[in-house]
């Protein structure tokens, strides 16, 4: 389907649903989510409406309520921006410092990546948009990975609780399998993202393997892993028997059993079967 001149991933409704209400909502969405749309509307609301097939009476109404309609862009922008600095404090600090936070937000909103009705999904939508758009990553190649690690903390904290299982064993065995906590994430980055801070938001380059998990207190925690330990845990996550996974990677069985027992004590692993 060809895009209209104003289109940003514009979705066309099937013919029977194109009504005046539909046209007005399409127009308003353009005004709210697209910086270019808002600029065009501010310059000439009647022309903005005409380009979007509105009738003359509706065009005139856009002009009458021009400033108030622009208020809605500010409100929507605030609503969508609000959760981001809390979830991405370091990314936010970095971009604010470079005076690019507003540009980043404009590009994010214009992408229309936020589709979930759940407000909490604004945060993962931001990471998805960074991944798809590669925005800012010429200048900061670590940006996506930094934002991802910041989001993972929120995801782990809020991940649905695991149903209690009485069937699981408390000690790992060579022929057993590992049952990880549902919130546990085996993470690999090309930057030391976990060392970035608001004071020093640019992580240094370096292969980094982390196991993120919700600990026994219900808090977010992570442990740094060796490349081998990360590969071993990845195999365990695929339900490979512990002994097989250790053998394939030439790891000492006693060492991996200790590793797994340690992670069970921390809350990253539910148990073994």
């Amino acid at each position: 389907m060809p895009l209209r001149p104003w289109g940003f991933n514009m979705v066309e409704a099937p013919e029977p649903f194109i009504t005046s209400t539909w046209q007005l909502q399409r127009c308003m969405t353009d005004l709210i989510l697209n910086a270019e749309g808002a600029k065009a509307f501010a310059a000439d609301p009647k022309a903005f409406g005409a380009e979007r097939s509105l009738g003359k009476a509706d065009q005139a109404a856009l002009e009458t309520f021009q400033s108030r309609l622009l208020t809605y862009r500010g409100l929507a922008r605030n609503a969508l921006e609000d959760p981001l600095p809390d979830c991405f404090p370091i990314t936010h600090t970095l971009l604010e410092g470079a005076e690019l936070w507003d540009a980043c937000l404009d590009a994010f909103l214009a992408s229309r990546t936020i589709q979930s009705p759940y407000y909490r999904d604004v945060n993962p939508a931001f990471v998805t948009w960074l991944a798809n758009s590669t925005w800012g990553q010429d200048r900061w190649p670590f940006l996506l990975q930094l934002a991802h690690f910041e989001y993972i903390e929120v995801e782990i904290l809020r991940w649905p609780d695991d149903p209690l299982s009485k069937e699981l064993k408390t000690k790992p065995t060579a022929d057993g399998q590992v049952v990880f906590g549902g919130a546990t994430r085996n993470l690999a980055y090309a930057y030391r993202v976990h060392e970035a801070t608001k004071e020093d938001p640019k992580p240094t380059a370096g292969e980094t393997f982390l196991l993120g998990y919700r600990d026994t207190e219900g808090d977010f925690n992570y442990s740094e892993l060796s490349a081998h330990a990360s590969a071993f845990l990845a195999r365990c996550m695929e339900d490979e028997p512990i002994g097989t996974a250790a053998s394939v990677l030439n790891l000492e069985l006693e060492e991996v059993l200790d590793l797994l027992s340690g992670f069970r004590a921390k809350g990253a692993i539910e148990g073994f079967r």
Partner: protein, 283 residues
């Protein structure tokens, strides 16, 4: 005793730990958004669930975009239905507005055009949603800052026609009526007269913010309720003639729990006074 009367409070994240630790509920009822609870886990979620099991709850939705055109996500709808059954909410409410278009969500309460086409469209969507839900559905009147397109009727007539057409209940937000009356220059009491008050099942009350530069009041829920809004609540309650529950909303600049509960007590007194003067019994 019917718990759904008097003045309740919107349950908010900063207060969860403190409220969950209480031996009993400090309010007649809480209001909660299902979208903020379903599909979640962790310690905060456990605090919410503890409160939901202990205290009476009314649900209020934020994201169905009933005036919009996007199809509802089946999983979201099923989650909502399950939550309503689980919490035994007496009804479920949503705003008469739209918030998403073409798959993109704005998370803002956007105004409907005040037109016959818009009435027809919204009534049809509301009927479809009501048919899905296990509890009665209420529409909330919203604050609107601009008319979207040319109006064929007043906002008041638009809202009344949708309520009647969809045959659903009304969550009367008294602050929204006050905000609209100030922003659009009409008399709030005149707006309420002639409206189908028999459809009111619940009320919302909240604070707002005046922006001098833009000469506009925004429904921020970020300040205490002002006296004219409390007086409007007291004016309309006897006209409704039933002790419908009133919910104090606070979403920004959220104060300590004790401060919010003190405001609730003050509103409860105003609520009781409104009925005492006309001799209506409640409880």
């Amino acid at each position: 005793m019917n718990p759904f009367t008097g003045v309740g409070v919107g349950l908010r994240r900063p207060h969860l730990q403190q409220v969950a630790a209480l031996a009993s509920s400090p309010v007649p009822f809480w209001e909660i958004a299902p979208e903020n609870v379903v599909g979640q886990g962790g310690s905060r979620h456990r605090q919410v669930m503890k409160i939901l099991e202990r205290d009476p709850i009314i649900t209020h939705g934020l994201s169905m975009s009933i005036g919009g055109f996007d199809a509802w996500d089946r999983d979201v709808l099923e989650n909502l239905k399950g939550f309503l059954k689980e919490t035994q909410s007496p009804w479920h409410s949503e705003h008469l507005c739209w918030s998403s278009f073409g798959g993109a969500t704005t998370h803002e309460l956007l105004p409907m055009p005040f037109t016959r086409d818009s009435v027809r469209h919204t009534v049809e969507r509301a009927k479809r949603l009501q048919a899905e839900l296990p509890v009665p559905f209420l529409f909330e009147n919203v604050s609107y800052y601009a008319c979207l397109g040319v109006s064929e009727m007043s906002e008041k007539d638009f809202f009344a026609e949708v309520l009647e057409g969809a045959d659903c209940g009304w969550l009367l937000d008294i602050n929204n009526i006050y905000v609209n009356s100030r922003n659009h220059g009409f008399d709030a009491k005149e707006w309420l007269e002639g409206m189908p008050l028999e459809r009111v099942q619940q009320m919302h009350i909240a604070g707002h913010t005046w922006y001098e530069d833009d000469q506009i009041i925004i429904d921020t829920h970020g300040a205490p309720v002002i006296d004219p809004v409390i007086e409007l609540m007291q004016w309309v309650l006897p006209r409704i003639g039933r002790p419908v529950p009133v919910l104090l909303e606070r979403d920004n600049e959220i104060p300590e729990l004790e401060v919010l509960l003190a405001e609730r007590v003050s509103l409860q007194k105003a609520y009781d006074d409104a009925f005492a003067t006309v001799g209506v019994q409640h409880g």
